[in-house]
Every structure is written in C-alpha cells, then in structure tokens.
Symmetry: C2
Subunit: 335 residues, 2 copies
C-alpha cells in the first residue's frame, strides 16, 4: 500500500476517532508521527478539530529502570483498570529506542493479555529523531486517544533520562516503580526522578522478596518526608506490589483514584493541565527553533570547528552562541 | 560620568584584568552586564582574549533559602578561605532580584568584613531581564575573575528556583545550606535541589540548636544513601556548622579540598568543565534564539490570543508552536 492510499481526509479521521474506531485512531497516530510536511499539516488540522473532545481521561505516567518489571506491572495493573470498567490506552516515550531500534513496548506481544483486550489500546514508542519530537508526538497521540473515548491513559517511560521530566509535564499522576534493596540497581534511576514522583511502587514484592520490599517501603517513606511538599498538598506515597500475585495493585489504583478526586475538588487537576498546555507550547516552540537552527547547513558546518574551540577553552561558549545565532537570524529584523 | 568616558579599550581591559587590577575587573564585569550592542561586542572581544588565562580556580556553588544564614556563612567561610592564602571572588545568580529590585548580595555591606578584605572580591547580582541572560553574565564574570587571579570562586544563589540547575552547570562543587528541623522551612527548597548537591551543610548549629542539627545530619545522611550515586564516584556528605562559632567550617573546607584533589586525580574535574563549556554553548544558543523569537513584534502580538486558545483547550499547544515558528523563520531556508 502506498502512502496516498493509506491517507484519509480530515473529516474521515475526525469522525472515525470520535466514533471510537480503533483502526482509524491507529492511522491518525501514524499520521501525527509522520515527518512528511503534508502529513503534518493534515495531522495539525485533525488534532485541532478533536481538541474540544479531549481532556476526559486520567493521565498517569509510569516509569522505572529496565528490570523493574514495568511491562508485567502494566499488564496486571492495566487488566485491573479495564476490569473496573475503564477504557485504557497505553503510550510510550522512549527516545533511546531510536538508537537501539527497539522500543520499550517492543511489539505488542510483550503485553500479551492486554494487547488482546478490546478495552485496551496499546501503542508502541513513536519513531523520531529527538526527545522533543517524540514528546510532541506522544502528547498529540494522547489527545487523539482521549477523543476516541479512552478515559485512562498510561504513558510509559524508561526512567533513565530527560524523558521523565517531559512525561511529568503531560500527566496528572506520576508513578515510579522501584525494586527493593536500595543498592546497585538504583544507579540506573537518574537524579531528580524520585523527587517528581507522586508515588513509588516497590515491585516484585512476592515470595522471599516481601520483607525486603517492606523494608524499602519504610526507607523511602522516611526519605520522602525530608522532601519539600508538593504545591498541591499531596504527600508522595510508597506502596508495595506484585504483578504476579496482584497483591497491592488494587491499593495503588484506589490511591490514584483518591488523588484524582481530591485534585479535582481542590481545582489542582485543571490548573495543572492548563499550566501544562502553556508549557507544552513554550517547550515545543523552543524545540522547533532549536531544530531549525542546528540543522541549518551553515550553522552545522561552522559548529564542528567552534565546538572544538569551546572544548579546549580557546573561545567562550557564550560568544560562540551569540555569533552563530546572530548569523542564523541575520535576515530577521531584531525588534 | 558618561558611558563613553567610562569605557576603556579592549587592550586596557585585558591588561588591567591580567594585572589583577580590581577597578578594571569591576568595570569589565559592568561591560559584560551591559545590554548595549556596542558594549556586548567589546565584552565579547575582552572575554575571548582572556580565555587562555581562565580555569585556574575552584568553582563552588552555594545555595539555600532565605533565612538559612547564607550571607553570614559566606562571610565566615570566605574569611577562612582567604586566611589560608587563597584569593576569593563571590558572585551571585538571582533572577528574582530583578522583580524586587533588591539583590541577594544586597550592597556589599551585607558582608561587612569580607567586603573590606583585599583578598576578596564581592560582586552583587547582575541586573538583567531573564535567567538565561543573568546566567550568561555570571559565567563570563567568573571567567574574568579567574583571569584576574582569583583562585576560589563562590557563586551564590537563592535555592528557590531554576537558578540552582544553572549554577550547578557552572561550578565544580555544589553546596546546599539547610536549617535543622525538617519541617516547614524545607518547603522553600525546590524539588530536585537536594539531589544535585555534592554536600549539605546544616547551618546555625550553635547553642541549643546543636542537637537538632546533629539529628538532621543523620536523617539527611540516611536519605542521601537512597539516591543514585554520582557518576564521579563521590557520595554527597552532610556536615553541621555555625557561622557564629565557626564550628564545622574548617571541616567543610577540607572536604571541598579533598573533593577537588580527588576529582583532579581521576580526571573528572576537567571532563566536567569541558562538558559544562559545551552545555553553556547549547544553553545560551537556545536562550538567544528564544529571546529573539518571543520579542519579535508579530510573534508577540499573535501570542496573546493564541495563549488564550491554548489555555481554554481550543487549540493544540503543539500546532500553535509549529505555526508561530514557521512564521518567524519564513525567510530562512529550511534545510
């Protein structure tokens, strides 16, 4: 099938999405992910038209280093969510997957049960060059899923880089999965991630791990008390769970629902989303400006020598930045 | 005195700085801080010419919320440093000072003793509109101080915002001052700051505060062990001190010196600085691109309506960003 044949009209996309048609939703996400200019223009029209139908979901970020059991957690936890009558979409942000040509969601078979459940929609990591681009695509995909009637969204990320900060900026609740035993495995978690979590779930609390998990829970609870309070009044919680035995999963879901209801009541949920929308705009504008700048052929070719001079301390970083930006924008009036 | 009269030639600035002339150093920093285009060009030449004479200092970031006793700490700690034979420059990054028209260093009289000490050079916060601008000015001022022979630099910041992350990106060692009693006063510290500290010093450990400070030290030590290790192998330390009795200050200085010597030996200090120089370039290029974009009159006037549409969910943040950036760069070829 050629590109043209695969493409629908804006009307067809919008109607299909609003009717909850999963095939059309999938194709709309593919359109959002496309780097073709004509696709981007169409995607923009579709996204702007479904905007009034977005926002009716609880957006949950889930992160944790490889090995923490993220996919089995999402499989079991997602099953619990759909069993309670919700419609679940699982999306992913993972800029590293471009390098390895893998994907944190791999193919859908990694979540065997959930991927065959008609109440769930699983979408692997978008392909794209840079985090800013991947992030924008994930955000727009989330809006499409909401317009298609999914009322719980999981956004999965790998817990090892900047992507968590970006995901934090698109969700209502941020859950960090951790292993018990505060030792070597912690080194994979980047600094700052623990502090942005609304809750930590200690995973694999089954069999002979149960005691270690409870100990870890106490330690993290104590440590979190030393942190500054969130400005919404929420104290981050620590829970233990097992994706295998399902122990602890209902408690995590009821904690998140309690969070949602209290944040809706005090107005923080909507206030936070409105701030997030404004931040998305600023972030994405910065990302686009930067992409254009660093991809311009003159900037690119000057940069090689200049970076070498910056590294060896021959030129000031600040003055090189000034020089290149002035050069790039020389035809644009400086108001 | 008019602007012209105050201005020296590039040769005069460079020679004066390299001769350690404090008056000329001060005037060079004023030049760096100036927003006049002609001043900026001259400043750029001066900074690029002194570059080979920079880097010979230990750069220490010091942060803490108002009330933690930052100026008395710097006064006492700085006195200890100069007594040991070092030449100390104290600079400040505080974007909030533009709003209040104050400055975290206030006038120099806040550090009565140190400001009259010929072995120390104290420079208040630069005036400037945005954090990115203030940060660039502080970085260049630091280089000027190094060229003038100061071999220990303190960069002070307020501990309540993004400025810490910026300061972390320009120093070798980052010290967080905290009060004992992990209670209300912690709320002023922003999330993520604790995790970037190389050491925490519990201040005001004198009189009846001593026990509380020791307790806080234990608690923070335990909490810090749960954090990921630094990639340089350094485990963040917690110390107690009193600027009044001077207790603990020598221990903090010897800890920092131990850090310096071990980081010089393992090559991390130079590797970190080389990375910082590259990051400064990227950060400042982004900052300049963004400033030009958001200050362009057409972008500015469209933005008001569009931000309202983003806030109420009428338009997608991403598509508005795309539209405005494309408009701004319409005359620049898109490679």
């Amino acid at each position: 099938m050629g590109k043209r044949k695969n493409r629908l009209s804006a009307d067809e996309y919008v109607e299909g999405i609003l009717a909850g048609n999963r095939v059309i939703l999938s194709r709309a996400i593919t359109l959002v992910e496309s780097s073709l200019v004509s696709d981007q223009q169409l995607a923009e029209e579709v996204v702007n038209r479904i905007m009034p139908h977005t926002g009716n979901s609880l957006r949950i970020g889930i992160t944790g280093v490889p090995g923490v059991g993220k996919s089995t957690f999402i499989e079991s936890f997602g099953h619990l969510v759909v069993e309670q009558g919700d419609k679940l979409a699982v999306l992913a942000v993972d800029p590293s997957s471009q390098k390895t040509r893998g994907s944190i969601l791999g193919d859908k078979t990694r979540m065997e049960q959930l991927s065959h459940d008609s109440r769930a929609f699983i979408r692997p990591t978008p392909a794209g060059a840079a985090l800013g681009g991947v992030s924008a695509k994930t955000r727009e995909s989330m809006l499409l899923c909401e317009a298609a009637g999914f009322n719980v969204i999981f956004i999965e990320t790998v817990g090892v880089g900047q992507s968590e900060i970006m995901v934090k900026g698109m969700v209502d609740f941020f859950l960090l999965l951790m292993l018990s035993g505060a030792g070597d495995e912690l080194q994979g978690i980047k600094k700052g991630i623990i502090e942005i979590a609304d809750a930590i779930a200690i995973t694999k609390a089954d069999g002979e791990n149960v005691d270690a998990a409870k100990k870890a829970k106490r330690e993290y609870s104590n440590a979190l008390h030393l942190f500054p309070l969130n400005d919404n009044g929420w104290s981050p919680q620590v829970k233990v769970c097992s994706a295998m035995t399902k122990d602890g999963l209902p408690e995590i879901w009821s904690m998140i629902q309690k969070y949602e209801s209290s944040m809706r009541t005090n107005g923080y949920l909507e206030k936070n989303r409105s701030n997030q929308r404004v931040n998305w705009f600023y972030e994405h504008a910065r990302y686009l400006l930067e992409s254009r700048f660093f991809h311009q052929s003159e900037v690119k070719s000057s940069l090689i020598d200049m970076l070498a001079q910056i590294k060896n301390g021959e030129k000031s970083s600040i003055s090189v930045a000034r020089y290149l930006v002035d050069y790039f924008l020389k035809d644009i009036p400086n108001d």
